[in-house]
């Protein structure tokens, strides 16, 4: 009975109720969206590198080195000389080492010079290995392996020629040395998807005719001549290192950090990520607090609408009372109405969230490398929804109690 009355009453005021519901829905969608981005960003960062014991680069900060070498975000760190790289590689406690050389680009994508070992040792998402979706891993000097996003965005297929540009902006392209796509990697959800991978020697080959950043006019070395050249890499940006035994990790890290020929830095990827979360955590909490405040504001808005509706419904309440409805019935009807509004709002908010996710997922993925999975709400999200509904009910108690006390006297007055 009360339920039917409540629904009928809500339906009669469809516009006001709709607006209130919309406000709650948007606030809930915002809150859940912030939560999604927060957890999604964490997960996608944490999934990008696993199985690497140390990352070695020039002495900078652990977060900077991690961001630049693995995520290609932020300021470039200094390069490390090839001599130091070999020195570290020769240490007995190093099981494997993978060089990474950044600094060139292809269109909007980074070009990364590395060795075959990268495909063997790079792991993402709890130990998964890179798989080639089409073609093969490069084995020629001018072969490249491209990430899934590179292939999809630029429409490349295996055997297509590509040109690698010097520096990040492609204002001066290395047109002499056309590369060939030898393989396309499977989608990983990591920055590898947006990377063009070439060999370390290829990075040197690109720069054969280039001195101090500009091409020597009129000089162009044919590809065959370059093939014959002794292309020893000059520098690496960073190196991924695996140790023989975890017990040696700290000793190796210290040895690299105290390496006296060159200021180097070795970081534990997991610890550097934690450090990053420590910094980001404050902003994260602030963001979450702001979106929680938006939910509170929407609920207070709902309370205000109920208050103002009480004025319009004085007669209605009085008639209910005259017909024998007890004050408690009035109270429960108002609380029920509010609960229904809050529940509708929360559910609609979830719908908005998923629509929003479906629309922004590819955009976030391609422009920020942030992959937000679309999956069933987590327990935490369910609790948020329950919390919003409960808060709606509690908030509505304030006007409901007022109506409870005033319903007869108020409505029967002649001066209305």
């Amino acid at each position: 009975m009360i339920l039917r009355l409540a629904f009928a009453s809500l339906f009669a005021r469809a516009l006001t109720v709709g607006m209130t519901t919309l406000a709650i829905a948007l606030s809930v969608a915002l809150f859940l969206g912030v939560e999604k981005v927060r957890t999604g960003a964490k997960a996608s960062f944490a999934d990008t590198i696993s199985g690497t014991d140390l990352i070695v680069g020039a002495r900078s900060g652990s977060v900077q080195l991690l961001l630049y070498s693995v995520f290609r975000i932020g300021n470039a760190t200094n390069n490390v000389t090839w001599e130091s790289y070999l020195d570290i590689a020769a240490r007995p406690d190093v099981d494997w080492i993978v060089p990474i050389s950044l600094g060139d680009s292809h269109r909007q994508f980074r070009v990364m010079g590395t060795s075959q070992a990268f495909f063997e040792h790079y792991r993402y998402r709890q130990g998964r290995q890179l798989q080639v979706a089409d073609g093969v891993i490069m084995d020629d000097l001018f072969d490249t392996v491209i990430g899934a996003d590179v292939a999809a965005t630029l429409g490349y297929n295996v055997d297509d020629p590509i040109i690698v540009a010097h520096g990040l902006a492609s204002f001066s392209e290395h047109k002499d040395q056309p590369f060939r796509v030898s393989g396309i990697l499977e989608k990983t959800g990591t920055p590898v998807d947006r990377t063009v991978i070439v060999s370390m020697e290829a990075i040197e080959a690109i720069h054969v005719d280039w001195q101090s950043g500009a091409q020597i006019p009129g000089r162009s070395t044919p590809a065959d001549v370059i093939r014959e050249m002794d292309l020893v890499p000059q520098a690496v940006t960073a190196a991924l290192v695996g140790v023989e035994s975890p017990l040696q990790t700290f000793a190796l890290q210290r040895a690299i950090n105290e390496y006296s020929q060159e200021p180097l830095l070795a970081i534990l990827p997991g610890v550097a990520l934690q450090e990053l979360w420590g910094i980001v955590g404050i902003a994260e909490t602030a963001l979450l607090a702001v979106s929680a405040m938006v939910v509170v504001t929407a609920l207070i808005g709902m309370m205000a609408t109920i208050f103002s509706s009480l004025n319009e419904r004085r007669r209605e309440m009085a008639i209910y009372r005259a017909m024998g409805a007890r004050p408690r019935t009035i109270l429960s009807m108002l609380v029920l109405e509010a609960t229904v509004i809050a529940a509708l709002g929360a559910l609609l908010g979830v719908v908005f969230l998923y629509i929003g996710l479906a629309i922004t997922q590819p955009i976030l993925d391609s422009s920020f490398g942030l992959w937000l999975p679309i999956e069933a709400p987590t327990m935490r999200e369910v609790w948020v929804i329950i919390g919003v509904v409960a808060a709606g009910a509690i908030v509505s108690l304030v006007p409901a109690i007022r109506a409870y006390r005033m319903s007869v006297a108020d409505g029967m007055m002649v001066n209305t």
Binding site: D53, L86, S245, P246, T249, F250, S260, L268, G270, V271
Partner: protein, 203 residues
């Protein structure tokens, strides 16, 4: 590989011409670092703490009392299970312990020796460093650190989920220990403070 070898030979030759290296480690009073690496049943730990935290001074010990304090501290640091309480269920026993007091100058020289680059370094170079070191001692400006390495064997390493820090009771000057732990699942970092001297490894 041949290239690599020749390059290494080249690098090894370089320091003879290189200028004197000057670099120091981070040093923060009140903060010690504990690194733990777990591989199967073997647990390797290394602990660094500023001299100020352990014995309350960082000048070179001259008096008998100071020397005794350092000896006592080294003895305490050689018994890690009394300082860092590993979960009882893990059944860890100490197989090797080594603790010592280092000041940064000797520490630096150690680094050189380890790399084996210093064999042919000019004698002057070494003297320079020693002189430098002496100055520091005289002024009392050099920092000292206690360094300790431990190897433990745990019958049930999976049960190692918690570490308590009686260390803070033993050394009243210590305020914080930064813990880094490496397990098969990766590396993690924690901060343990005097107020809450229990570390839950959450595994």
């Amino acid at each position: 590989m041949k290239q690599a070898l020749s390059l290494i030979a080249l690098i090894v030759a370089v320091p003879a011409f290189a200028e004197e290296q000057r670099q120091l480690d981070a040093h923060e009073h009140g903060v010690g670092t504990l690194n733990i690496a777990i591989d199967g049943a073997t647990v390797a730990m290394e602990f660094h703490a500023p001299g100020a935290d352990i014995v309350g001074f960082e000048y070179a010990a001259e008096s008998e009392a100071d020397k005794a304090a350092i000896d006592a501290a080294v003895a305490i640091l050689s018994a890690p299970l009394d300082l860092f309480g590993l979960s009882g269920a893990a059944a860890c026993t100490l197989t090797e312990a080594h603790a010592e007091l280092e000041n940064e100058d000797t520490h630096d020289e150690d680094g050189h020796d380890e790399d084996g680059h210093d064999d042919h370094a000019a004698g002057e170079h070494d003297d320079d460093e020693e002189d430098h070191g002496d100055e520091e001692h005289d002024e009392g400006a050099g920092h000292t650190e206690f360094h300790a390495n431990y190897t433990l064997t745990c019958d049930n390493p999976a049960a190692l989920t918690e570490i308590t820090f009686p260390y803070f009771d033993t050394f009243p000057n210590a305020l914080e220990v930064e813990v880094q732990i490496i397990t098969a699942t990766g590396a993690q970092a924690f901060e343990v403070e005097r107020d809450a001297p229990i570390l839950d490894l959450g595994r």
